[in-house]
Amino acid sequence: MVFMSEKNPEIRSMERMANHIRQVVLDMIYYAKSGHIGGDFSEMELLTALYFKFLHFRPADTENPDRDRFVLSKGHCVEALYAILAEKGCFPKQDLKSCGSIGTPFIGHPNRVIPGVEMNTGSLGHGLSLGCGMALAARMDQRPYHTYVLMGDGELDEGSVWEAAMFAAHNRLDNLTAIVDCNGLQISGPTEKVLSPGNLPVRWNAIGWHVVELVHGNDMCAVCAAFEEALEENGKPTVILAHTMKGAGCPSIENRVEWHHRVPSQQEYELMKAELEEGASRL
């Protein structure tokens, strides 16, 4: 762990951004009366680091063929992505207020009519295959972009994930990074109890992936270090097994399975808002 006083300004700035995005997401879900706040918060440092440090993409030029690609395979945690894309300037922030209203393009899973969203996702187990295709296209066209795919640990139940994992390793797609948001909980309970995934580092490694174990997946310093390692590796695709906490950032909901997709009451909302503001004051 890195102590606060040692952190560089860039890390500190991204931590503030992650806190800010959590507050935006909380508002989105509270007012829309729908969303997946637990997973939005567990993936927050991963997404913030990607969009504010690692992902090469210009919000004003979201169709540039050389942009880095990001696929949110755990599509139900889309509120964090929408909020970050708004913050980056892909569309006006006020558009987020349409979440939950009839006819909005900001539906509950990624919708590629929204600038910055690469592909429609939502059915679990699809994103890694899409990422393989994108990474393969980069190789065919000798383009320099990198492809990132974020999955949930519950999502690894899907057999199609492992088809894609074999393909990426077989084709040595070292321009592809998979990230698994290992928050340890899926909708019915602990991932270990629903369907034990076994020893994930061993499984990914056995197929032929470079494995980065990210022990503190909600620590911005550690997250950045993991992404840097992923970019250094040559000759294999990299998977970052990010050990996160569901609901991270709000102690009142942390590591509680019911917050997979619960909508906060007014009292809960106010408590979570206060927790996030208190967190911000420490940054």
Partner: protein, 311 residues
């Protein structure tokens, strides 16, 4: 005689030489898909996904999202069942330029059984928004269809059989308009509407009927979705009855699509010939088709029954 799937490979071989964005994917199916030559001649434009149809379609969609013109070639039975959700979400919903080539479709795997038959693919793929469904009749039409599809960026499903098929359109001059039915024979007593390789049987039956004094219109509805509604309405308006013929089950097939249009516009009797709602009996493709009356004799018998009713 050559197979329609061989024609698809021939067209793609020619196109790939001039366009490096054309990519063919197979699921350990380059042999059954007649794509071995493509894989050998264009290794940089060929992708082997292994026996993993879900991944095949997902990779295809990812490639297409980056500007590739993708042709995913796999047995129709597996392509349209195992990877149904990837077709729904990654191809149809994201609306990317992936052409799904279902080879050895219908019951062309014959005695290999229900696991290898695709007799509900019109219904399955046709129910997805924006997915077009094509069942070309013969090599000449398959070539025209492929050349037309190379020019657009929308997704499509093309089902072809396994075996060599006779030329329905001879002489190298194939009448073809994308998304429009082809009139094989004019007539006003009844209309026979067929799709896929059964269009040949429809035409032979139509000619025999003509010889018997029955004016039978024969339509090759190679494009089942979007179906040529005007051609169907015209047939319903100008003929006394319609027969449909398809290598598919009743639910969601050509016959049900035609009946829906006819009922809504110019009601007339529609007699549909299709495969049963059960695993088909064991046998070669032609034996099975004959058993269920999906042949010239079946059409003639249907015509006789219908004409007695509408006289």
């Amino acid at each position: 005689m050559i197979s329609n799937k061989q024609v698809i490979c021939d067209v793609l071989l020619q196109a790939a030489a001039a366009d490096k964005d054309i990519v063919v994917l197979c699921s350990d199916s380059r042999g059954s898909g007649s794509m071995t030559e493509f894989a050998e001649r264009f290794p940089a434009q060929f992708v082997e996904a292994g026996i993993a149809e879900q991944d095949l379609v997902g990779i295809s969609a990812g490639l297409a999202s980056c500007g590739k013109k993708v042709f995913a070639v796999s047995p129709a039975s597996f392509l349209t069942s195992r990877s149904m959700e990837q077709i729904k979400v990654d191809v149809a919903y994201s609306h990317v330029n992936v052409k799904l080539i279902g080879v050895s479709g219908g019951i062309s795997y014959g005695a290999l059984g229900m696991t290898h038959h695709s007799v509900n693919d019109i219904a399955v793929i046709g129910s997805l928004p924006g997915m077009r469904v094509f069942l070309p009749a013969d090599p000449g039409q398959t070539r025209c269809l492929m050349e037309a599809l190379l020019q657009d960026n929308d997704p499509a499903y093309i089902r072809v059989g396994r075996n060599p098929v006779p030329a329905l359109y001879g002489g190298g001059n194939v009448p073809f308009t994308l998304h429009k039915a082809t009139v094989l024979q004019e007539g006003n007593d009844l209309a026979i509407i067929a799709c896929g390789e059964l269009a040949n049987a429809a035409l032979i039956a139509g000619r025999r009927l003509k010889g018997q004094g029955v004016s039978a219109r024969v339509l090759d509805m190679y494009c089942v979705k979007p179906i040529d509604e005007e051609a169907v309405r015209k047939a319903a308006r100008e003929c006394r009855a319609i027969i449909t013929l398809e290598e598919h089950v009743a639910w969601g097939g050509l016959g049900s699509c035609v009946a829906a249009i006819v009922c809504a516009s110019h009601p007339c009797p529609v007699y549909s010939l299709y495969l049963p709602d059960s695993p088909v009996i064991s046998g070669s493709q032609s034996q099975v088709l004959d058993y269920y009356g999906l042949n010239v004799e079946g059409v003639l018998q249907a015509a006789s029954t219908l004409l007695k009713k509408v006289r």
